[in-house]
Symmetry: D2
Subunit: 239 residues, 4 copies
């Protein structure tokens, strides 16, 4: 994604193209670079848009985001809490589905990160469906009765009790953690808070090189991003 | 998910509960079975709902559905084509996100499957966002300018040219196939049709058993469901 | 592997064969069963032989055994300690390579297991290269200067100091554990004992169904057996 | 592994050590470098030795070699054929187990590779158990009645018929190929030659970083090396 009016020409690793050649073209048209490569002008998908986000923090991988959205059952109109915001990629993915009637409340303690995320979300037109709160989730969430909570922070166990309070009955929690030790502490806290149907998974994504008669998985792959834990809130029983 | 008025009592593997005990309770409440187990009444999530679908056909796995929805950039308001409908699980997943303004056009040549899928979608309130066509996708799609096409059938190469015609410029195609040979033929057809940014991946999901001091991946896992291939439409160049 | 003189005929899931038909045949010959299936008489490989072992205990998987033998650099003439013996499969694998000049010292606290392992090893002619000690490894090993130690027991940390004493300088230790928590305790003990070059891995084996034009990984696979940790002994420094 | 008399001092990434400081020390002793790091003098294991091989060709990974040796049932005294020799790593692994009574016949069409492999094997004292033949395996093997054949070349289908002739009845074949298409052609040839018990697998190795309270799989891993196919020879039936 390029902002067309920024420069007179663009230098790509496939040669140079002039802005003037692009203006007036439609999505699907193409231009030829100075080195003879044909480049296509494509309507950016949501997936393209989030690739342009400035990312000061490590981000979740597509495989983890896609699975989480599906398991949490995110749909238009939902109200969702997330922490931390990070670069806002998950925030955008949530907002892009709950819009236009729903809302994402995203907590980020780091001021630089929250400002950067706002800028990222604004750039792709999703900031109106999001409230980014520069606030430490360990001190609690202000919303209640929300449809889902997603946690991506180093000490989820300190936030899980707040998530329980904010979730509506029967609503879902997801938590992402890189180490098995974090998962153990998180699951233990989920159990003591009364969460049900707790399950932990990890996803491995393998790229396959398809060439007629020479197809094979790629040599290198990401061996680990983190574990995803899902749980369900049920009203606490009075003893 | 249980339809409450069907029976006087329910037999579960954790004991029997009387319908009369459940009526009047709210989501989050619980009942105690004849064998002393506490069962919770939870508001069904979208994910729960699709677990109730009758499934005469093999279905895609969650990991594959979640990733596909995210990579295709499915969002509210989109118009999407899918074939085959199968039991309607992917149809429901698509409809649940494109709703209320968008629409899913789902092609299924098998009459029994298309009737069953209609019934499944109706049960969860999503049929109004879906048109199920009992029609063979090999003969073409009636829609044009759609935002995404998802193919889950044995011979995607016979349908990929129709997908190209129906997709809007810059829009995305996804195709699911169990064998590497199908993927090779599909990718070859995508290339000759002019699709760009073709990539194939597979996802492995591993369940992790979390127990304090005894955490480990589960012994058994699904080793393969299928390969997912994604591609992007760009307008064909006149030579 | 069948002991020919045991019965007059053999019932297999591909039909019945008479002992008299087999006698006089050579390896590579075949017989036809009552249901018309051709069965081949093959010289049992070492791999076949260990498939016949009675296995009262869970056993290590081939993938783990093969990798361990290679990483430990097991070769003819080596002296190796192992515990627990279990059904003797790893014992046999070790003995089959260190033979005829080397020896395996295998510690097994459970009397039934050690007797069964002796019987298994005797059946395949390897008992003469093995000393099975019905003794608890937590009380120490009697051998010193050995070329390798392999640990497969629930609390390796209680045996690692004994392994350090028994290993020759520069020799290798391997330890197998199903849970990540066991590995953490084992690695911590290895470090405090002075082991070097500690590394932990896991292996995933996937079966591939090869059929012309329909090749794909098998649907089901073993998702986890355990973690393998390798370490190197170096003489302790006097402070 | 360092040849001690080559230089007066050694530069490592942990500082410099003088040769004179090492001489007279035993395995297990240590020296301190100019930057204060303690380095240990360890007896090289077989595994260390093969790390020193000059490798002009791509080599098989440990996981694949270890599993192959075990599945083929390689043991002291066996006669084994291998092609291509490559850098001689698999040759060394085979020789190190079949020694002293067995022998490896290794075919390599490329003269530079075969010379380099000879030099590598000589360096680790294994050349006396190996005959490296600078000859194209497509023209056949000179040995017969061998206990195992291992194929690592681009067109195994051209060599599989020769492998069948050279193998003793009931003996095992293994073949390594990076692409699924090669495996399909190899398996098809194995079937038409009369091989039995054909199976194909792939191994994934994942390194685990163990740190107390922060244990997790490594971020990067090798996603693919190749597929291993195993098969068993049975005497051909006269029709």
């Amino acid at each position: 994604m390029i902002h067309l009016l920024d420069k007179e020409e663009f230098h790509t690793h496939k040669g140079i193209i002039k802005t003037s050649e692009i203006i007036g073209k439609k999505f699907g048209d193409s231009v030829v670079t100075t080195t003879g490569h044909r480049l296509y002008i494509l309507k950016p998908s949501f997936y393209d848009k989030i690739q342009t986000f400035r990312r000061p923090t490590q981000i979740l991988y597509d495989k983890d985001i896609g699975f989480t959205l599906f398991k949490l059952g995110i749909e238009p109109g939902m109200r969702v809490i997330e922490t931390g915001t990070g670069s806002g990629v998950v925030t955008a993915a949530l907002a892009n589905i709950v819009k236009p009637g729903g809302h994402v409340y995203s907590y980020e303690a780091n001021k630089d990160f929250s400002e950067n995320a706002k800028s990222n979300l604004s750039k792709v037109g999703l900031l109106k469906y999001v409230t980014i709160k520069c606030s430490d989730a360990r001190h609690g969430f202000e919303e209640s009765g929300v449809d889902a909570v997603f946690l991506d922070l180093g000490d989820p166990w300190n936030v899980i009790p707040h998530a329980f309070k904010s979730l509506g009955d029967g609503s879902n929690l997801a938590s992402f953690s890189p180490t098995i030790n974090q998962v153990e502490k998180a699951v233990s806290t989920m159990k003591s808070e009364g969460f049900l149907a707790i399950e932990t998974i990890e996803l491995l994504l393998r790229r396959i090189r398809i060439e007629d008669g020479k197809s094979r998985p790629e040599t290198h792959m990401i061996g680990h991003t983190g574990y995803l834990t899902f749980a369900r809130k049920a009203k606490k029983q009075e003893e």
